[in-house]
């Protein structure tokens, strides 16, 4: 095809800067909280994966006398059954992160598509799904998880499932609200005018455009999941005993506060660091992606 005189007289290309494209990532890395949070979280992930290499003892087997004070063999002492406290907390990282990642992944994988579909299609589909969502949202997350665990029984998998289900409505609402705001944009209309199928518009046009607030929500969910899991273990409904869960350790430690103070401090500090790191990542992401208002609206879950 030949270019017409008009097209060959096209304006000179404005050389676009690459800087703009990466600005969100750069902003995130430049924000102190985002950077520190990420580094701490990465360290935690390494600890969880390499737990057998880092922990000096088994988390489940007796490694000496009960309730020892910190010493060269047991840096933070031992618990009431003579297990090495440090090793148990290290292995506990694994449990916590498993629950966090599992619950966040589950709620996102279910909530995101459901929210997009309900937002895009509207009508009675929307009405029904939103009423169910409202119902789940009306129940506090921890109470919801408590009821699910009480009926299904305890265990890491069931706990993750319970927390994941409880966190799903927040994703549905967030995805739905974002979809609604995009549904009438010109590029969605343009995609329709190009003969794109509904499925393609929902998952190839709309979905990539609503991801920023979803990322933030994933991080928020992960941190809430760790807290809820710990709380449930603390009341004895989370991970059943021999497993080294932080919440479970905190609970048992109450009886030995005067004999072994590290028993309570160590899991508590681990919990605080993990949740703090996730929180910092979430805040960094929010700043970088400019989604502060979007997530605040749906953050009514903690």
């Amino acid at each position: 095809m030949t270019a017409s005189p008009a097209t060959s007289a096209a304006v000179a290309p404005r050389v676009a800067t690459r800087r703009v494209r990466y600005s969100a990532r750069q902003k995130f890395l430049r924000s102190t909280s985002g950077l520190i949070g990420t580094l701490v979280f990465l360290v935690l992930v390494v600890i969880a994966i390499a737990a057998p290499l880092i922990a000096p003892d088994s988390p489940l087997k007796r490694a000496g006398d009960a309730l020892q004070q910190p010493n060269a063999h047991h840096w933070f002492g031992t618990d009431e059954l003579g297990r090495d406290l440090f090793s148990r907390v290290i292995y506990g990282t694994r449990l916590s992160l498993e629950t966090a990642v599992g619950a966040a992944a589950l709620s996102c994988v279910v909530g995101l598509p459901v929210g997009i579909v309900t937002g895009y299609l509207g009508g009675w589909v929307d009405a029904v799904i939103m009423r169910v969502t409202d119902f789940v949202l009306a129940v506090p997350e921890i109470l919801f998880a408590l009821v699910v665990v009480a009926t299904l029984g305890s265990g890491v998998f069931k706990l993750t499932l319970a927390i994941g289900i409880g966190a799903t409505p927040a994703f549905i609402r967030l995805a739905r609200a974002s979809t609604l705001s995009l549904r009438d944009t010109e590029y969605v209309l343009a995609a329709r005018s190009m003969g794109a199928a509904k499925r393609d518009i929902m998952f190839r046009t709309v979905m990539p455009n609503i991801l920023p607030p979803i990322f933030v929500q994933i991080v928020v969910t992960a941190s809430v999941a760790i807290l809820v899991a710990a709380a449930l273990s603390f009341v004895g409904l989370g991970t059943p005993p021999p497993a080294p869960s932080w919440g479970g350790m905190l609970q048992t430690s109450r009886s030995y506060l005067y004999q072994q103070v590290w028993y309570a401090i160590l899991p508590g500090v681990a919990l605080a660091i993990t949740v703090g790191a996730l929180d910092a990542i979430g805040r960094g992401l929010q700043q970088a992606l400019g989604t502060e208002t979007a997530t605040k609206a749906s953050g009514a879950m903690g």
Binding site: M1, A3, S4, P5, A6, T7, S8, A9, A10, V11, A12, P13, R14, A16, T17, V20, R21, R183, D184, T185, E186, Y187, L189, A190, A191, R192, S193, M194, G195, A196, A197, D200, T205, P208, N209
Partner: protein, 342 residues
């Protein structure tokens, strides 16, 4: 006009929107058609139903309700067609160019892929590589410099004019029979406007497509159109070949629109705006919708009580005015008055 079947034929289309304040009739028994290779301009003020008419005709309306009317495309009924069949036409035989190029492209997909997608949607067997090559070819054709580099860039790295070129590339990718351009030049500045209009003309010549150009800019109309439909308050009030619209308009509203336009060939020291605003479509008076703003009507009872039908004004044009015969002399007198006053 030669007796060929029109590419797009809209007849008697009425579209209503339900709002909490009542029913709005945004499109009121509108009929127009375009022949192959022809450009029809649809002009009118904002909110007069220009865009709603085509969106409804193409089945892209979000909220409104089509009350009556028929739309055929190449002989096939567009409104009764199953959605799947209509989707095959959309983007292939029948494409659209939108008003705001910066928002008509998906911000998180590279422009090249968006062009390639329009090819792939309608030809799933095409290989990704072929689609890519074709897309680069199309970008070059619409005057995007360094198309192979620009292929991998995102819309925010493009200027508005360049984005509109990409949108036009998508519109002509599948060699359509009809291009609907919804105010394609409103959002870009004047120099780019001229380039884009030329580009659309070239695109039309190369694909042989008919064009429906929706605009409120009479300069654009003069530039590209062969025929003009003037819309007011959801109705077509005049339809005529383009020279005739400019030389001897047959409806007071068209006269008003033209006198809002600065012209080089006439010594007019002041532009005359049309007083008032278009009527509230929730509550259009019984009579002629333009009557409250019409200087020619002078509150005659026919204007106030009877809605004027669209009637042939002369062999080439139709007009919806009770006193169509008076328009010409009234317009001349009005011009005289203004020149005298100046």
């Amino acid at each position: 006009m030669v007796a060929v079947a029109p590419v797009l034929d809209i007849s008697d289309l009425t579209v209503e929107f339900d709002t909490p304040e009542g029913t709005v009739r945004a499109v009121d028994h509108v009929s127009y058609s375009v022949d192959a290779g022809e450009t029809l301009a649809v002009v009118g003020e904002t909110g007069c139903g220009k865009s709603v008419t085509v969106l409804a005709a193409l089945g892209l309306l979000g909220a409104g309700r089509i009350v009556s009317g028929a739309v055929t495309f190449g002989g096939a009924d567009l409104l009764d067609m199953p959605a799947k069949k209509r989707r095959r036409l959309l983007g292939h035989d029948l494409t659209m160019v939108f008003q705001n190029p910066m928002t008509a492209l998906n911000p998180v997909m590279t422009v090249g892929r968006q062009v390639a997608e329009t090819l792939l949607v309608h030809e799933p067997k095409m290989s990704r590589g072929t689609a890519r090559d074709r897309a680069i070819e199309l970008l070059a054709m619409v005057g995007v410099p360094q198309p192979d580099v620009r292929y991998n860039q995102y819309p925010h790295e493009f200027s508005g004019g360049m984005c509109q070129r990409v949108v036009i590339a998508m519109a002509i990718a599948n060699k359509p029979r009809l291009i609907v351009a919804d105010e394609p030049t409103t959002a870009v500045d004047v120099t780019i406007q001229a380039q884009l209009l030329d580009l659309l003309r070239v695109a039309r010549e190369e694909t042989g497509a008919a064009v429906v150009m929706i605009t409120h800019d009479l300069g654009v109309v003069a530039e590209v159109a062969e025929r003009v439909a003037v819309m007011y308050a959801g109705r077509v009030v005049e339809m005529a070949p383009v020279e005739q619209i400019f030389r001897s308009p047959r409806h007071p509203y068209t006269v008003g629109l033209l006198s809002c336009l600065p012209r080089l060939d006439r010594d007019v020291s002041e532009l005359i705006p049309i007083p008032g605003a278009p009527p509230d479509l929730r509550d259009v008076a019984r009579g002629c919708p333009f009557e409250p703003r019409c200087e020619m009507s002078a509150a005659r009872s026919a204007c106030q009580n009877t809605r004027p039908p669209l009637m042939p004004a002369d062999p080439n044009s139709v007009s919806a005015c009770h006193f169509v015969d008076e328009v010409e002399s009234w317009a001349r007198a009005r011009r005289g008055n203004v020149e005298e006053a100046a």
